[in-house]
């Protein structure tokens, strides 16, 4: 293992297969689902149905889990849940592949050194939890709560947040925020005064014209959004896609504009230029409801379609066509803010530009435009326990990082850097496979893991990170546990959803609710959590006039649809400083940043190198599904490919289907080779590979060595100076043929 050589203190441990589920998982697998001997008579899958919600991505669709003889036989979309609407994406249907994964963590593990060699040994829950409680308590006492941090990904983390808040620890980060949704959230706050959420606030179903920049619905199976895009297509909506790659969504588009990567803001400025200079923007809306129009026009006056064409490689006439069609269909038209938004460290400004394009056509709270979905108002019970106030200085150093989310107080890369610098001594890692997470690339993650005094991972699978910690606590999967109520999603019909176990926890795994309680009990903090997780849920639901018993039936409580649209002349009363839509942001200006988005050039590829773009496959969600044999069974899911334009392939003598290593601009060579896909579907200045492959942990027996790791090839990151998100598309690769 190349990157394992410099380790002095904490060796990477290959968890012995004795400590994993292994053969123990196999007998409980329903015959035929994984065993390859599918002789089960058809139609026996419809047993008891348990309604819950999915954990295979952040969208959290409602699922109907079919259980026969104590085994999950299939998972379908819940007909009661507004986000799934009876339908489900492949990942949701593939939950059995996680539940019955023979590589699952089965026992608590503790690192020990024996005969000079570091290894894990099986520990009882009491012993493992005692070590965690003692180490955290000691570090807390010695260095204060600021020396403890948590990285998390997944809905079950709420109990650990509460646990840490009890000792005043609030250095809590979710890498997904920095890579994915963060810039869109903060751009919405700065422009409209409220955060955009999931599903993003667009009235897709009723739209007549949708513009997408680089986001690729259909390859990211955000169920509700994909359902609504399909409905819009059936109703005759037109789509324009700006993307260097001919994505599946581009395949649905009236216009595919293969934009030169990293030039999106120039394109958006040119679209604004056309809207304003041709006087086809919504002047009454802009006059009445926005501020900063003059400043905006000054900033885009020079960005003519001709100038933008030189920068973006999209013809000026095509730019005019899209702008005119967009204005023609407005207000039932929008530019979507997308997902996995941070590309070059300027995503806050890019998404601001998207919201300005929306505001210019007056689509705010109009049918088919930008809308503000509502959340289910769930009253929170009063705190059962006094705990120390948060240490405010723990918040992110980035001025436009959110200040209002206790679950997300600091950027994940700040935690990685603070760990490397020795400021953070102890790290709790919940569901984040740090070495393969796009936070600062693999090497920084490993450096951070080496420097810590103490680390604990709560996980389901022996992902890479579990080899670098001191204690591994095996959580049961989302199909085996209760979690907190989900009222975090705003949608057309506000709802609160329940996660409930379909089957009992397997092996020695435990739900997060129990693990967190065991740790707080060790600290002597009794009564932090309700006596049982069920009692806690019931108490919350009773405050909302329902009960656990009631919500268990359908897995969700749904309110009637809210009125999404504004009336003529209705005041907007936005929570921005001006109370209006901020085309120019006074807050950004006061913080020393551009009040209106401005295009800035990004680095270009060295000769014979190509910009590395990334995305996903519809049946996979990176680490959550990498080892899922059921989902991995299709040929299209088994490995990632590097997409190479036909002309580039010819220049480098690459043939379709051959395997090459990739080398980045810093000289890092991919650990494993990757299959070449020669295609017309990508520009000549970029290559594309799906993230989440090329796992180096041999314990992930399915994922190991499949494809190449995108994360390993990230050597350069660009951090958004305003809100701290991490961009990583200024990495370039070339091809190394196998000797």
């Amino acid at each position: 293992m190349k990157y394992g050589q410099n380790m002095s203190r904490r060796d990477f441990i290959r968890i012995s297969s004795l400590f994993l589920a292994g053969a123990a998982a196999m007998p409980v697998i329903p015959a035929g689902i994984l065993s390859g001997m599918g002789s089960r008579p058809e139609g026996k899958t419809d047993g008891k149905i348990v309604y819950s919600f999915c954990e295979h991505c952040f969208w959290r669709c409602g699922i109907a889990v079919h259980v026969s003889d104590g085994k999950v036989t299939k998972i379908t979309g819940s007909e009661h849940h507004p986000l799934s609407n009876g339908r489900l994406c492949p990942r949701g249907a593939g939950g059995t592949g996680l539940l019955y994964d023979p590589d699952r963590l089965a026992h608590p593990l503790v690192r020990e050194t024996r005969g000079g060699r570091q290894q894990y040994r099986k520990a009882s829950w009491d012993e493992a939890v005692t070590i965690v409680a003692e180490k955290l308590y000691k570090i807390h006492g010695e260095y204060g709560p600021g020396a403890i941090a948590m990285l998390h990904h997944g809905f079950g983390v709420s109990f650990f947040k509460k646990m840490l808040s009890e000792i005043g620890v609030n250095k809590i980060a979710k890498p997904s925020y920095d890579l994915c949704c963060g810039p869109a959230r903060q751009a919405s706050v700065l422009t409209y005064g409220y955060p955009s959420d999931t599903p993003e606030g667009f009235d897709i179903m009723n739209s007549k014209y949708m513009i997408f920049f680089g986001t690729h619905f259909g390859e990211n199976m955000h169920n509700t959004a994909v359902q609504e895009i399909s409905e819009a297509i059936r109703r005759g909506a037109k789509i324009a896609v700006f993307d260097p790659r001919y994505s599946t969504l581009a395949g649905k588009a009236e216009h595919w504009l293969p934009i030169k990567p990293a030039t999106d803001i120039a394109m958006m400025q040119a679209l604004m230029h056309v809207l304003i200079s041709e006087n086809i923007y919504d002047k009454p809306f802009v006059d009445q409801y926005t501020v900063g129009f003059g400043e905006l026009w000054d900033s885009v006056r020079e960005m003519t379609p001709e100038k933008a064409a030189e920068i973006t490689d999209v013809p000026a006439e095509a730019i005019r066509t899209v702008a005119r069609e967009y204005a023609f269909h407005a207000p039932a038209a929008f530019v979507h803010s997308g997902r996995r938004t941070n590309w070059y460290g300027d995503a806050l400004q890019r998404i601001r530009a998207i919201h300005i394009l929306n505001a210019l056509v007056g689509n705010f709270r109009m049918p088919g435009g930008v809308v503000a979905f509502q959340k289910f108002p769930l009253p929170q019970p009063p705190a059962a326990h006094e705990h120390p106030a948060y240490e405010k200085e723990a918040y992110s150093k980035y001025p436009f990082f959110p200040q209002d989310e206790p679950s997300n107080t600091i950027a994940s890369h700040e935690i990685v850097q603070q760990a490397i610098a020795g400021e953070i001594k102890a790290l709790l890692i919940y569901g984040v496979n740090l070495p393969e997470t796009m936070t600062l690339g693999r090497q920084a993650a490993l450096d951070a893991l080496q420097k810590l005094d103490f680390s604990v991972a709560v996980d389901v699978l022996p992902s890479e990170v579990t080899g670098y910690v001191d204690v591994v606590l095996p959580e049961c999967t989302y199909l085996e546990r209760y979690d907190d109520l989900d009222n975090g999603r705003a949608f057309r019909t506000p709802f609160v959803a329940l996660r409930q176990p379909a089957v009992k926890p397997m092996f020695e795994t435990k739900p997060g609710s129990e693990i967190a309680r065991m740790i707080t009990d060790k600290w002597g903090l009794h009564g932090v959590f309700a006596p049982t997780v069920e009692a806690g849920l019931d108490k919350k639901l009773k405050l909302a006039g329902s009960s656990l018993e009631e919500i268990k039936k359908k897995g969700v409580l749904v309110m009637p649809a809210t009125d999404l649209y504004r009336k003529p002349g209705e005041p907007l009363n936005l929570k921005t400083p001006s109370g209006k839509v901020e085309l120019a942001s006074a807050q950004l200006k006061a913080g020393g940043f551009d009040a209106v988005p401005k295009y800035m050039p990004h680095p270009e590829a060295p000769r014979d190198y190509y910009r590395m773009l990334t995305g996903r496959k519809p049946m996979l969600t990176f680490g959550r599904t990498a080892n899922n044999r059921f989902l991995g069974d299709l040929a299209s899911a088994r490995e990632n490919e590097v997409w190479v334009n036909t002309a580039v392939a010819s220049k480098h003598s690459l043939t379709n289907g051959e395997y090459v290593h990739l080398k980045n601009q810093a000289g890092v060579v991919s650990e494993f080779p990757v299959k070449v896909k020669v295609t017309e579907r990508i520009r000549q200045d970029a290559v594309y590979m799906v993230h989440g492959f090329g796992h180096s942990s041999k314990q992930l027996t399915w994922a190991y060595k499949r494809g190449a790791s995108h994360n390993q090839l990230i050597s350069r990151t660009d951090i958004d100076p305003a809100m701290g998100a991490v961009g990583f598309q200024n990495n370039f690769v070339t091809f190394v043929k196998e000797a």
Binding site: G32, S39, L88, A93, G218, M221, I229, R234
Partner: protein, 188 residues
């Protein structure tokens, strides 16, 4: 109304994103062995950069009205049923593969237990008045189950005014899968 049923599908490729939810739903529902599938997804791109076009399709047995697999099956294992679908009687199947050679759509595979297997159009669900597993999971509603002997106004509306095709019609198989082409303009 006809008493005899003739089930098939109308598949709207304009909205299909090729996500393969249909494939996984089928594998769970029908316990399809690892490494095999009864339905599959095709993503077809044509043209050259930047003038490209794409069609995504979820494919399976076409439940032909004039099915070569039934004609060429020496044991009568492959047969038509009262739903207008083509089924395989496993106890009669010898695994001789004559049907596989005859099928123009490559819809069949040899099950590890020795018989030939393929899409049943979830006959066990049709019996209960349910849609097939693939139709009921499809997030884009690209897949539509249709009784061609008893077309509803909704199923007629699916194809009206649109470019619709069937695969390998020249083979004379009278397939019961109809495809709404991705070439249709928005709002067709």
């Amino acid at each position: 109304m006809s008493n005899r049923k003739n089930y098939g599908m109308i598949i709207d490729t304009r909205v299909c994103v090729g996500c393969s939810a249909c494939v996984y739903a089928c594998k769970s529902e029908n316990a399809v062995p690892e490494g095999f599938c009864r339905d599959w997804v095709v993503q077809e791109t044509s043209g050259s950069f930047p003038a490209l076009s794409m069609e995504n399709r979820s494919e399976r047995c076409q439940h032909c009205d004039n099915a070569p697999c039934v004609t060429y099956c020496p044991t009568g294992a492959s047969h038509y049923d009262e739903y207008g679908t083509v089924q395989i009687n496993r106890s009669r199947c010898t695994g001789c593969k004559a049907c596989m050679a005859a099928c123009p759509y490559d819809a069949r595979y040899v099950h590890p237990e020795g018989f030939i297997d393929k899409c049943t159009l979830c006959r066990h669900r049709l019996e209960k008045g349910l849609e097939t597993a693939c139709v009921s999971i499809c997030p884009t509603r690209s897949l539509n189950l249709v009784d061609f002997n008893n077309m509803t106004p909704d199923s007629r509306a699916l194809t009206s005014g649109k470019e619709v095709y069937r695969q390998k019609e020249h083979a004379g198989t009278e397939p019961r899968l109809f495809w709404i082409s991705a070439r249709n303009k928005p709002g067709a």
